[in-house]
Symmetry: C2
Subunit: 132 residues, 2 copies
DNA sequence: GACGCTCTACGACAGATGTAGTATCTTCTC
DNA sequence: GAGAAGATACTACATCTGTCGTAGAGCGTC
């Protein structure tokens, strides 16, 4: 049941972001994106990342013309979920509230975000009553 | 200015928790706590963790009687802040909102927590208007 | 003062991650 | 079809983290 946590290192995550933000790409495309973001890694380093990520099952590749095109098989949301769960478990035994409160108290949000937030808070009530 | 991120592994974090929750302790005390929590590590493993944590500057020790007593030098809050910042930076380029929304949508909270949440949301307005 | 208990110091080792070099293979261009 | 350009495969290596084992130092008890 409990899906295995997706553990990705910082570099691997940077590569995933390139795929999430740019869609399916070749190694070279990903490398260029990383360079644009200030991460000047070698072509082969990117290839290593992609290969490892494929082994982990989080990206897939297809041969197209001369080069392979890689694409993400997991969403940014699922990685976010995984990271948050790990954080919350490791720091607060699974209690999400402290983390949530920390975010609200220490981060800044736009009025739009606050509005959205408020809306969600309302729905929370019903969920709180909701058994299970 | 920007304080360097505090990067701790899972085992190191488990040791920090023992110190946060039990106050200053000896290696053996920490080990016992970890065992209680189901992490059956060897005495020397705990010692290694504590030593490394001290090298990182996040715990301190004092010789008392026969054994050293270790204590945390950083708070759980600061580690939480650090972890969240890293997460938010790596996944959303620093935008905290997606993470916040994820938490609200996917985690459960008690009515008390929701109430507290609501109260905080109110204060948010003023902060949002507040320049800088 | 020898014995045993407990503690610390040090070293080791495997797996994960970040990084890249070299070798080989494909393909495009004259 | 030979050479250049670009792609992938394979290997390597350092660092960090989790995990211990062993050796030696300090102290309490006969």
């Amino acid at each position: 049941m409990a899906k295995k946590p997706i553990e990705l290192g910082e570099g691997e995550l940077a590569v995933m972001r390139a795929l999430w933000e740019g869609g399916p790409q070749t190694v070279r495309d990903v490398m260029n994106r990383l360079h644009e973001r200030g991460r000047n890694v070698a072509y082969t380093t990117v290839l290593t990342f992609l290969t490892r990520l494929e082994q982990k099952g989080v990206v897939a590749s297809d041969k197209r013309d001369t080069a392979y095109v890689y694409r993400a098989r997991i969403s940014r949301q699922s990685v976010t979920a995984s990271r948050i769960k790990t954080l919350v478990d490791q720091l607060y035994d699974g209690a999400a509230a402290p983390v949530l409160l920390h975010l609200i108290e220490h981060e800044r949000f736009t009025p739009q975000e606050i509005a959205q937030l408020r809306k969600l808070i309302q729905d929370l009530d019903s969920r709180a009553e909701d058994p299970r």
